[in-house]
Symmetry: C2
Subunit: 202 residues, 2 copies
């Protein structure tokens, strides 16, 4: 086997991810990605069959990392406490603590860039996103269902679980529109307060 190209491939992916999150997919040209990653046309189209193939690889890598983050938070919440309500709190606090760090390495979410262009979704680039959405939903539904106990039947637990994903995405957009990345931490703190009040028995 000749020289190893995985480093080049990863360099292109990382560069492209930043550019696409910042400027959008359609507004990012292959030439830009090549220039910014210090690569070439030959290298790019050796590793990716087309620009669309790049998008699919990007979102797949991103969603996988996202689900890994989810699993990390779940493990942390489970090890922190046995009380179901405290577990929910620990889960949300985990991300709240990391909010500033998250925002410093990515000013927005790749999901937004992909979801903004219908062409990418019909081309199969949205499946990894759906995978991530479902992973978040089922994980949170478990946590929240346990915390609600018998009251779970009266609530839309899945919608409540989805609200965590909704808060993340919405906070990314709020941070963008105001230029203040601190909104992520504040929104996660707000969500934690809301959920705590909701889970407290009347």
């Amino acid at each position: 086997m000749p020289r190893d190209g995985t480093a080049t491939r990863e360099r292109i992916l990382t560069t492209a991810e930043q550019l696409v999150i910042e400027n959008g997919y359609a507004a990012t040209s292959v030439d830009q990605v090549i220039a910014a990653s210090g690569s070439s046309k030959g290298a790019f189209f050796h590793h990716f069959g087309s620009k669309l193939d790049l998008a699919r690889s990007l979102i797949e890598r991103y969603a996988t990392a996202d689900i890994a983050q989810l699993d990390g938070a779940l493990a942390h919440a489970r090890s922190a406490t046995d009380d179901p309500r405290e577990r929910v709190d620990a889960f949300l606090a985990h991300f709240e603590d990391r909010a500033d760090e998250i925002m410093s390495v990515q000013s927005s979410c790749l999901y937004v860039s992909i979801l903004a262009e219908r062409q990418l979704m019909v081309a199969g680039a949205s499946e990894p996103i759906l995978r991530a959405v479902v992973a978040w939903r089922s994980a949170l539904a478990d946590l929240l269902g346990a915390a609600l106990g018998e009251r779970a039947a009266a609530a839309d637990v899945e919608a409540l679980a989805d609200h965590v994903f909704v808060t993340f995405e919405g906070a990314f957009l709020l941070a963008r529109s105001t230029g203040d990345p601190g909104h992520m931490r504040r929104q996660l703190a707000t969500l934690r307060g809301l959920v705590a009040a909701f889970l407290t028995p009347a």
Copy 2:
């Protein structure tokens, strides 16, 4: 004054809004807008100095309509009841009732399309969005501050107010990623439930 061109201008704007929300700004070509609106290059560049000028006009029109929706909900909430907590509930219920209708006329939010591309923001297309964000924040902060009473000091009322905007944008993205517009109504219902629990004195 020769013939009236405002109808043509509005037709171009409405067509472009749909296309940009569906496909994104950069992925929408001027030629597409022209073809879909049954117009011409001459007409387009007569009414808009550039494609960027179209984006600015689009977002300004959209934000103005958005703030008008906000004012409508505020008026409704104020006329519905004098109780501060009930007013918050009435405000959120207003949008919850209209959620399905909203999603049937627009599958996503123009804000998302604009915020997804940094070039549009530095070009001054984000100011109307900020105007809308601040309008929602101050209106909701008023409502929520009154509902919290003396407990308002202990809470981040502005972040809680922002959470309404966050829920809207996040729900738009959730609906897109799953293909189910019903998420908007469910997320607004979830938000209403969370806020009601939060506003209930311990």
